[in-house]
Amino acid sequence: MRTRTPILVSAGLVTAIALTGCGQAGQGDTTTADGRTQLTMWTHSAGNPAELEVYEQIITDFNTSQDDYEVVHESFPQGAYNDAIVAAAASGDLPCLLDLDGPIMPNWAWAGYLQPLGLPTEITDALLPTAVGVWDDEIYSAGYWDAALSIFARKSVLDANGIRIPTVEEPWTQDEFAEVLATLKSAGYETPIDIGAEDKGEWWPYAYSPFLQSFGGDLIDRSTMLSSDGALNGPDAVAWGEWFQGLFTDGYANNSGTIGNQEFIDDEVALSYTGVWNAVTALDEVGDDLLILPPPDLGNGPKIGGGSWQWAISSSCNDADGARAYLEFSFQDKYLTEFADKQVVIPATDAAAEASKYFGEDGALRPFVEFSQQYAVLRPETPAYAVISTTFETAAKDIMNGADVQQTLDQAVSEIDANIESNDGYGFQ
């Protein structure tokens, strides 16, 4: 046995090398039987039939519109998507076209996974600013839509409790919001508001860091992108933490229940802080009684998260021209409208919004367009976002569970800063 071990080890290594050598298909260097170049495309849309349907439509239309390229798509479930991308990148197996969640883009662009998009400016200029991903002064990603959050309520419930209906001009102030919650709790709602705290992952920074920004804090000092000190643990941030903790300790919100908007539909909660994607179901169930309200102004105006899923071209794509041709083709307004109406998200161009049955001038979901234009704050555009996101999630959950606010935020800051430092500032000087 002893003398034979090298044979086994070398056999293992040979196998390892053999395994890594496979599969470079679809990066723009495979051709089909009829002489087209194959372009692979990955989406995170498995399990989202409405979204997939539109993609399949676009791909079919594109493939039949010309005969140089053939786009082949694969869908992944959202939960495993980022891991699949990172694993594929590590093994040099990225597809030509991939969609990605807006805030992760700088991390991947910095890591060299992506190449600048290079779309004609007339396409990108027409998009909502939050639907375009910029890193290092280059556009790396662009999306067909943005999402927005709002507070859903029933008009009948607010009227019955004598609560003022807030408007974009005059949203609820912090004090008013506290009163609203107290009133609704005494009106018999065990938890008056569902803020989705039972969810996990990117939802946390997406949904709750805007509250922090409304208080005047932030996830990172955006002027330098080198430190979170002062932004995430200063007096404003601590005020946010105390407020956020209070929502739970006062029994206004909790983190049990189901992910989504079911509690509001069942009238178990009076208010629901949730996304545009749940709006059509709510419309169907609640009808004309449904109010789509701006989030409260906690000192610095209402804020909501901006930036949703967008498209990018991988740096390992050998036929970026083909990938660009597909993307150019796909940014037609008719497709944007279709995404908006099937998936219930805000179309990224005005023209597409006008044509949409939900988001047009008189559309039932028009308020979301206004919120998106007026309140949206992008999550910090830095490669450090991957760490900021998970650290913020942990800190916010600890605060929710009663941890000391200042201490928790200080710990979060030191973790983020240590990470930025060990990455030599991620290229920021």
Binding site: R4, I7, L8, V9, A11, G12, L13, T15, A16, L19, D83, V86, A89, A90, N107, W108, W110, A111, G112, Y113, K200, N254, N255, S256, G257, A386, V387, T390, T391, T394, K397, D398, M400, N401, G402, A403, Q411, A418, N419, S422, N423, D424
Partner: protein, 313 residues
């Protein structure tokens, strides 16, 4: 497992005839051929990763980064023990989990095994019932229990009904004082059936004659257990203890599904912390260092257990 290798009578060295050697040679190759599939997989997915982890843990390697990794010496290890309170808490949580789960699960498994180790009608049904959680995916089990542990979930409703409303129960997974306990209960429930089967196999190796002899001597059932059953289960006990310990120290899935280490890190474990650092925060070098610490600790504990439970001649 203490398996004493079968003692082969030492072959007398003879004048090696060619035929004999060639058979020997062929047998050797056949042997290598047979271990090759397992051997290659082990090398690929165990040995190579361990060596890689060892190498990575002395660098500041990132999961994704355009910058090449630098050698940082023992920085990662120093950081783990001095600048990472969550790591230390994870070590504590993992230790508590193992210290509670190992004796409880081993004891409960043995109790169940003794209960179902008799010949009567329908006993197979009980064995199946106890074993069902083992073959259910731990992810599914965790999701189900997560619902049961909710504030208005099944468990609290049951407590409420049993105490006629005197005690409402708590929000099990959201209270730092109860979260780890809740996960311990579900983990034991899920895995105890497996060790019941192992104990059962051990019980069935004890010859029936010994019990008959004990009964002739007028031994009570308890005396039969302490003098016949328990000594006969010794090798099984070693196996059960070591496997539960290793599994308990590697607690990950339940945490990942149910609490993500919360509330306030009260359920963070070493493996979970390593995964969070390595993948979510992309610090592969640091995560490799944590994994290496974990590997050494588990190895040490397993060796100590082997030593304490070895056959004393």
């Amino acid at each position: 497992m203490t398996v004493t290798p079968p003692t082969v009578a030492a072959e007398e060295p003879r004048r090696a005839s060619r035929r004999f050697r060639s058979i020997k040679g062929r047998e050797t190759w056949a042997g290598f051929g047979m271990i090759a599939p397992a051997g290659i997989l082990l090398v690929l997915f165990l040995i190579v990763p361990v060596i890689l982890a060892f190498a990575l843990s002395f660098t500041n390697a990132r999961l994704i980064s355009p910058n090449p990794p630098r050698f940082v010496g023992f920085d990662n290890f120093i950081r783990a023990f001095t600048a990472d309170p969550v790591f230390l808490q994870s070590v504590g949580n993992t230790a508590v989990f193992a210290l509670v789960v190992v004796p409880l699960q081993a004891g409960l498994g043995l109790l169940l095994a003794v209960l179902v180790n008799r010949r009567m009608r329908g006993i197979t049904a009980f064995r199946v019932i106890f074993f069902i959680p083992v073959v259910t995916s731990i992810v599914v089990v965790s999701i189900l229990w997560k619902f049961m542990y909710q504030k208005d979930g099944l468990i609290n409703s049951m407590i409420d009904a049993l105490t006629f409303g005197a005690w409402q129960g708590v929000d099990w997974l959201n209270d730092p004082n109860t979260a780890l306990g809740a996960i311990i209960v579900l983990s034991i429930w899920q895995a105890v059936g497996f060790h019941m089967i192992i104990w059962l196999a051990g019980l069935q190796t004890i010859p029936e004659e010994l019990y008959e002899a004990a009964k002739m001597d007028g031994a009570s059932p308890w005396r039969q257990f302490t003098s016949v059953t328990w000594p006969g289960l010794r090798p099984t006990m070693v196996f059960v203890l070591v496997t539960i310990t290793i599994a308990a120290l590697g607690l990950f899935v339940q945490i990942s599904v149910m609490t993500q280490g919360g509330p306030v890190n009260s359920t963070s474990t070493i493996v979970f912390h390593a995964v969070r650092k390595g993948y979510a925060q992309q610090e592969i070098g640091y995560a490799a260092a944590i994994s290496l610490i974990f590997f050494v600790a588990v190895l040490a504990i397993a060796l100590i257990q082997r030593r304490l439970t070895r056959e004393k001649d």
